[in-house]
């Protein structure tokens, strides 16, 4: 990346197949524009999304990670998102203790009808990541011998 180009954060989004993925589809159908930084990885359910994937994304140079699924009560598999939520509560605490930047780890509920919310949220976290700059600390961890 040359010096003059503005910093473009890399964002990995783990989303569930039935709500947020469809929300993103709806954003597309409605032609709601948002920054092109996010890479969506489709999984069946937030219940499937393991914390190791968040760490992996940082190892691969992500500047922010988004995990998103169905609103409570709307899970396609009834309870996968409840299990996920409980894990996130614990995981965020661990991130805090480790000093990993929680402003770079985002969780949301975005339904299949919330194309607008998807657009807005992705725009917002891209802006945040842009303002925070590259996640230098984790890159250093990955580069250290």
């Amino acid at each position: 990346m040359s010096e003059q180009q503005p910093f473009e954060p890399k964002i990995v989004a783990y989303v569930c197949n039935w709500c947020t993925y469809l929300g993103a589809d709806l954003a597309g159908t409605n032609r709601l524009e948002y920054p092109a930084n996010v890479r969506i990885i489709r999984l069946p359910c937030t219940g499937r999304i393991d914390f190791n994937l968040i760490i992996k994304a940082f190892e691969m140079g992500a500047d922010a990670v988004l995990v998103s699924g169905c609103h409570p009560g709307d899970c396609h598999y009834t309870a996968g998102n409840f299990h996920a939520r409980r894990r996130w509560i614990l995981f965020r605490q661990l991130l805090e203790t480790m000093g990993i930047d929680t402003r770079r780890v985002h969780f949301s509920w975005i339904s299949a009808a919330e194309g607008k919310k998807f657009q807005q949220f992705v725009t917002e976290i891209t802006e945040t990541a842009r303002a925070l700059g590259p996640y230098q600390a984790y890159r250093e961890i990955c580069q250290a011998e």
Binding site: D25, G28, R31, A36, R39, I41, L53, C75
Partner: protein
């Protein structure tokens, strides 16, 4: 070595406008394992699909990535096409470069870069894909229907008429449910028994229906297609096969003053009895608590009178096992008990209405019996206390319903209609009587429903007062009903001879216990939960278990019947094949590595994982392990995330596939 073909769709201008598809095709052509990369105008069109099929054959492809629209749009299409060309459909993946790219990013440079990365991810994934075979599960093509109300009857008949066997379990001595005790039914005012009893007889005589009355489901094992159900047939003390239903016994029985359940405690029956004359089966049962033989050890008159020798005082409960492939739950409802079982429930009750204290305050089902030709008064409207004809009757709707303070927030849906019906039936029989109705709103949506209510008011002259009743007291043989008419804005007191409470509909007793046995969810009120309120209204989250009728929520007869036929339809769809074919994208467990901590067993929303044991040839326990039942797994992957050692994995979204995707994002 994988041989992957990439097919990039222009989607006319939809993708090509913002993504340089030709450049993308060139950039991904060199990815490891990729042997061909082409762009085409419309991949989903016939020529597009045949291009893909040709390449699969000519390039001997082992994997395909279609970069086009959302997989929700066309993944199935492309998988089918691949299968036609001889490639396992699960070796096809898509990259969503339309909804997630060209439609939302207008900078051609950025959009193209992103498209290339999305394709790269999909290529990385497909390299780790495995050829999957649809899972097939053998099914026992017999159904169990639990509950013999109108819903259960309908479901059982529909299934049986199609040639499949049905086991119908009803816990009362006769089928029929609430409808058997109703007088006439809205909105047509046809006689309830006249339309129901022929259906009951059909059930009793149907060669494909095995009927267990006075029986309950005790345990359920197994899973969709393969349930093992244990049914407890309670001791009836009458040999069902020998008995001819002649009635000698109950006519002779000296224990006559026992409150009739069927008449809601307003009439009497004998100790050996059939609940009502049209009962199916028309075989009596002995009420142990009323029978002099059991109470005093002497009597046995029924046994002496019985020419068929059918009375068996030594009868025992019998436990029967039935194998079925599908289960329909139709356990119906009960009425909010107002004061009777408040102790055992968290509901507040309606002590202020004096139910149970004043004999002339009755609930709506009791009133149905009072107007019914087969009821304790022979269809003449007489009040319970003194048998007088009531000249002024107050009907109170929403008793319990829509009342958060009393613990029930929902609308019971049918009370507005049957209350209107009650006023009409009353007026038709007591021409000089006056019906009053206290109501909150009138909810009469439905074909000919509002017209029906209007008729009650306009033709039959019922007085409708919008407001609630605060208290009922008894003075000089009259019931003093105090309330307000909020439209007039004034307190209103009516002297009534009879008060009828339209109390809330609640799930039948024992419904939640049954739901637990079946692994079916239920709401805070105990109504069973359907799988999806709109798209899967009669399915439940327990595969192979269906719901219909009032056990799922308040309903009238037409709705209960419609739902019952829908449930039967679902069962028959299932039974239309010998095997049940399910998507192979399910979890599997590496039994060697599994530590048998059973966290996954606890977490699985579908109870699809069981605790299993691995034994050697001598039967020695080698290890314990979790094991997924592919017949139940829905593929959510919750078990994968919960398993610390990743001994659980999910086909179609394996760890290998997902990590390959992330790792492609360098």
């Amino acid at each position: 070595m994988s041989r992957i073909g990439i097919f990039i769709c222009w989607c006319g201008e939809n993708i090509a406008r913002n993504v340089d598809v030709e450049r993308a095709a060139a950039e991904v052509a060199d990815l490891p394992g990729v042997v061909c990369s082409v762009a085409y105008k419309y991949m989903c069109s016939d020529p597009g699909q045949s291009l893909m099929r040709q390449k699969i054959v000519s390039e001997r492809l082992t994997g395909v990535v279609v970069a086009s629209c959302s997989p929700h749009m066309h993944l199935r299409t492309f998988r089918k096409a691949a299968a036609m060309a001889g490639l396992n459909p699960y070796l096809v993946e898509m990259a969503n470069i339309r909804e997630h790219c060209s439609w939302v990013h207008h900078d051609r440079q950025q959009a193209t870069t992103k498209a290339v990365e999305l394709i790269r991810m999909s290529v990385a994934k497909v390299r780790a894909n495995a050829a999957l075979q649809p899972i097939s599960i053998p099914i026992t093509r017999r159904a169990l229907v639990i509950g013999g109300g109108v819903a259960g009857i309908q479901a059982a008949l529909d299934i049986a008429d199609s040639g499949r066997e049905v086991v119908l379990v009803e816990r009362e001595p006769s089928i029929g449910g609430k409808m058997a005790g109703l007088s006439e039914t809205f909105p047509t005012l046809d006689c309830s028994q006249c339309i129901l009893t022929p259906r009951m007889v059909d059930v009793g005589q149907h060669p494909n229906i095995r009927l267990y009355t006075y029986s309950e489901v005790e345990g359920v094992e197994g899973y969709v297609g393969n349930f093992k159900v244990t049914v407890r047939k309670k001791a009836r003390y009458v040999d069902m096969d020998a008995c001819t239903g002649c009635g000698q016994c109950w006519n002779a029985c000296p224990s006559k003053k026992n409150l009739s359940e069927f008449d809601y405690q307003m009439g009497n029956r004998t100790a050996i009895y059939v609940p009502f004359p049209q009962a199916v089966p028309a075989r009596p049962v002995i009420d142990r608590d009323a029978c002099l033989h059991f109470l005093k050890g002497k009597c046995g008159i029924c046994a002496k009178k019985c020419a068929a020798n059918a009375v068996k005082f030594d009868d025992q409960d019998e436990v029967i096992t039935e194998e079925v492939g599908a289960i329909v739950v139709a356990t119906g409802f009960k009425l909010y008990s107002i004061d009777r079982d408040q102790a055992s429930s968290k509901l507040a009750g309606y002590g202020e209405y004096g139910y149970g204290q004043y004999p002339d305050v009755v609930d709506a089902l009791q009133f149905e019996r009072i107007v019914s030709a087969s009821g304790p008064t022979g269809g003449e409207i007489r009040r319970p206390s003194d048998g007088q004809q009531p000249k002024s009757v107050v009907f109170i709707s929403c008793v319990g319903s829509r009342d958060n303070a009393k613990g029930i927030s929902y609308c019971s849906k049918i009370c507005c209609m049957y209350t209107a019906k009650h006023t009409m039936l009353y007026k038709h029989k007591v021409h000089d009587g006056q019906a009053h109705v206290f109501y909150m709103d009138i909810r009469s949506g439905g074909k000919n429903y509002d017209e029906f209510v209007r008729r009650a008011i306009e033709q039959d002259g019922a007085h409708y007062h919008r407001g609630r009743v605060s208290k009922i007291t008894q003075e000089n043989g009259k019931l003093i009903v105090r309330g307000v008419d909020t439209l007039v804005g004034e307190p209103l007191t009516i002297e009534a001879d009879l008060v009828v409470l339209a109390s809330a509909m609640q799930p039948a007793g024992g419904a939640t216990e049954l739901a637990q046995k079946l692994n079916v969810g239920y709401d805070e009120f105990g109504f069973l939960s359907e799988s999806h309120p709109k798209l899967r209204p009669v399915e439940t989250n327990a595969a192979g278990v269906f719901v219909c009728g009032a056990c799922q929520g308040p309903k009238d007869i037409p709705e209960s019947v419609a739902q019952a036929s829908a449930a039967a339809g679902k069962v028959l769809v299932m039974f239309s094949n010998e095997q049940l074919s399910r998507e192979p994208e399910v979890a599997r467990i590496n039994e060697t590595n599994c530590a048998a901590c059973f966290a996954c067993v606890r977490a699985c929303p579908y109870n699809a994982i069981e605790r299993a044991e691995v034994r050697d040839r001598k039967g020695q326990l080698v290890k314990r392990t979790a094991r997924v039942n592919p017949g139940l797994c829905m593929g959510c992957g919750t078990c994968v995330a919960i398993c610390p050692s990743k001994s659980a994995d999910l086909e179609g979204f394996t760890e290998q596939q997902v990590y390959a995707m992330v790792e492609s994002l360098v």
